[in-house]
């Protein structure tokens, strides 16, 4: 994976110095809170309901064991012994003191980490397929492009005060594991008929209040023009994106209002101009980065045989282990969704254990998935049982990947100052209701996503079952959506009827799963049955 050179390190060190100075000026009172707020946000520091929250960047979700260990140590040293992995492949700490934040950034900088642009109206941390470099179905590892993009977007002087936040996701497989079409820009590495590699640009997707699936703006871009094309995409948005209403300021609204064709025309015109300016890093730079993402030294003698005589282990292998491109290897997903737990949370000890497992068994690499789990991308199949035993002892071996209890949930009203309703207790109650793993497996793949407000941080629009918490006359109320999906079959869920109380929403979901079990054909998933039979049978069972 990518290692900082002296240039990258100098940039991060400069940021620590700049931020420390800003905090000192705030504490001294020479910066007002209004002036300080956008500055701290660009360092991922939010003021939440109970304390400051610090969001640390994990660029394209990839990190090594040294970095992971530091994340655990920070949880112990500055927080309450745990951290929260997010849908943006980052980690958040919920109980931070303002005066500690410069020291945290200094600690992070010692392992090449930071909180740069993890909030604010700027280009956010770029996300990527969490199976990048390991998936059996990959055309190309998207991370070299993501790293090139990381560098270009870091402290970009023209695009630091955009109309609104800006999120880019990049994938290199036909299978979309990054919800790419629901980002401001989604980039897919593709091959044309001549076998040449190119980049397909989707622009103007997003969730939030007004969910939209991004249209294709450029079908095939030569990879060595990526930065120039991004400059053009962002420039048109910065100049013309709406600033009169923050809820209409994302690029999806611009693309929707002027139309994809008009946006494309403007971008192409600007792109032609930008190509004359030689802003693109040379081919050698992409090659330098690619060289750091070459395959680790896979053992050619690794075997595919796994002893599955332990039934609990066999269950976990079946549910949480994916095919790897190298023979004898597998991709392990460590579920951070134990029944009764908080989705995405991990203790400092758990974080350090996962770091050790990555060091010893996964070529020193880990990934954070947007589904708030941790991935060990390169594991020898012959090591799986030993890894599982250690995970199991640390309560990290829940075999529920992509099942109904593998819930994405935002922090909600337990932490977040924007939330209208709590998300965590709802997730816990659903997981408890369906705690029997056999029952969960009978229901099959069922992606359930919960947001505690309309901003949709819990991706409720993209859940096969989505839950949106709202405030109804001072009471928490939960709306139920069906039919959302991310990936190749991206679709947006629809609200099916009146909302529910916290207990009522759990009952409603149980009724919906009963309908599915009664109506499904062959190997249909919940989403497939829903798409085939429509809303009516579900509404009748739930409201009837």
């Amino acid at each position: 994976m990518y290692q900082y050179d002296t240039h990258d390190q100098a940039m991060v060190d400069a940021r620590v110095a700049e931020y420390s100075d800003q905090v000192a000026r705030r504490i001294a009172g020479t910066l007002t809170e209004d002036q300080f707020k956008p500055l701290r946000l660009k360092n991922g520091l939010y003021l939440q309901l109970h304390a400051y929250m610090l969001r640390v960047a994990v660029p394209y979700g990839t990190l090594d064991s040294r970095q992971m260990r530091m994340l655990g140590d920070i949880a112990d040293k500055y927080d309450r012994g745990y951290g929260h992995f997010t849908t943006r492949q980052n980690i958040q700490y919920n109980w931070i003191k303002l005066e500690d934040s410069p020291a945290i950034l200094a600690d992070l900088a010692t392992v090449g980490m930071h909180a740069i642009q993890t909030s604010g109206n700027c280009i956010r941390n770029t996300t990527a397929d969490h199976f990048a470099g390991a998936a059996a179905d990959e055309i190309a590892d998207p991370r070299p492009y993501a790293e090139l993009l990381r560098q270009w977007s870091t402290f970009h002087p023209e695009f630091d005060y955009l109309p609104r936040k800006f999120k880019v996701a990049i994938i290199g497989s036909e299978t979309d594991r990054a919800a790419m079409k629901l980002h401001d820009i989604g980039i897919q590495v593709v091959q044309n008929e001549a076998g040449e590699t190119g980049l397909r640009f989707y622009v103007g997707g997003g969730m939030g209040r007004t969910p939209m699936i991004a249209p294709v703006i450029r079908d095939f871009l030569p990879p060595l023009q990526m930065i120039s094309y991004l400059e053009a995409c962002l420039r048109i948005y910065n100049a013309h994106g709406r600033r009169d209403n923050k809820y209409k300021a994302r690029i999806k609204i611009l693309v929707h209002e002027i139309g994809a064709d008009a946006y494309r025309t403007q971008v192409e015109e600007e792109f032609a101009h930008i190509l004359t300016l030689n802003l693109e890093p040379p081919p050698a730079e992409l090659e330098r980065i690619k060289a750091q993402f070459v395959d680790p030294g896979f053992d050619a003698a690794a075997t595919d045989a796994i002893d599955l005589s332990d039934p609990d282990f066999a269950l976990w292998v079946d549910q949480n282990v994916h095919a790897h491109k190298a023979p004898g290897y597998a991709i392990v997903t460590v579920s951070l969704k134990p029944v009764g737990g908080i989705p995405g949370d991990a203790t400092a000890d758990q974080i350090r254990l996962m770091a050790d497992l990555a060091r010893d068994h996964s070529f020193d690499e880990l990934r954070v998935s947007h589904a708030q789990n941790i991935v060990l991308p390169h594991v020898k199949k012959s090591d799986l049982y030993a890894i599982w035993q250690q995970l199991d002892a640390a309560e990290l071996a829940t075999a529920n990947l992509d099942l109904i209890s593998d819930i994405i949930a935002c922090p909600g009203l337990d932490y977040c100052s924007l939330a209208n309703a709590r998300s965590i207790p709802v997730a816990q109650k659903i997981a408890q209701r369906f705690s029997d793993i056999g029952r969960q497996r009978e229901l099959g793949e069922l992606k359930l996503k919960i947001s505690g407000c309309i901003n949709a941080c819990g991706h409720h629009h993209a859940g096969h079952i989505g839950i949106l918490g709202v405030d109804r006359k001072g009471l928490e109320n939960y709306q139920l959506l069906f039919g959302g999906s991310e990936g190749a079959d991206t679709s947006l869920g629809s609200i099916i009827g009146p909302g529910f109380s916290e207990d009522g929403i759990v009952d409603a979901i149980e009724k919906a799963t009963d309908v599915y079990l009664a109506k499904r054909e062959a190997d249909e998933r919940f989403i497939d049955t829903y798409r085939r039979i429509g809303t009516a049978p579900f509404k009748e069972a739930i409201y009837g």
Binding site: H7, A14, F155, P157, E158, Y161, A239, L277, E285, R288
Partner: protein, 142 residues
């Protein structure tokens, strides 16, 4: 207002009256123009030769349209004074400078020393813009 103009240029400051962008075409003797957020600087491009001052207004520093206006003018060949006015704060100075601004007229006075320090915030830069700085990729590959 307590305004203090800080210029990073050696030539004399323009004393010409500053006209609105919409009036520039009809005010054929005008050499100084003000650009507001949302105004399209492409209207200035045919007139760049006669301009010695472009003021780009930042009514609120969080409105970043002026960065695109400035960088566009420099990319298209404007060499006169490019002045950021309004809610111009020290923490944005390095970005202004990287986008081509070479003069600042902030609502709240800031010192020349603070401006120089702000411009020196970043030891290196990742992007090629219009300030002439070589990006990190150039340093890596000569």
């Amino acid at each position: 207002m307590g305004e203090t103009l800080i210029r990073l240029r050696d030539d004399a400051a323009s004393t010409a009256p500053v006209v609105a962008l919409a009036d520039l075409a009809s005010e054929t003797n005008a050499t100084a123009v003000r650009v507001l957020p949302g105004e399209d600087v492409s209207a200035l491009l045919p007139l760049l030769d006669r301009l010695e001052l472009v003021e780009v207004a930042f009514p609120a520093y969080t409105d970043g349209r002026g960065y695109t206006s400035a960088r566009t003018l420099r990319e298209r060949g404007y060499t006169g004074e490019l002045r950021a006015t309004g809610d111009v704060l020290i923490d944005q100075i390095s970005h202004y400078h990287r986008c081509g601004f070479d003069a600042f007229l902030p609502n709240q006075p800031i010192t020349r020393a603070a401006v120089d320090k702000a411009i020196a915030t970043w030891p290196e830069v990742y992007q090629r813009t219009v300030d002439g700085r070589a990006p990190i990729w150039a340093a890596r590959h000569g």
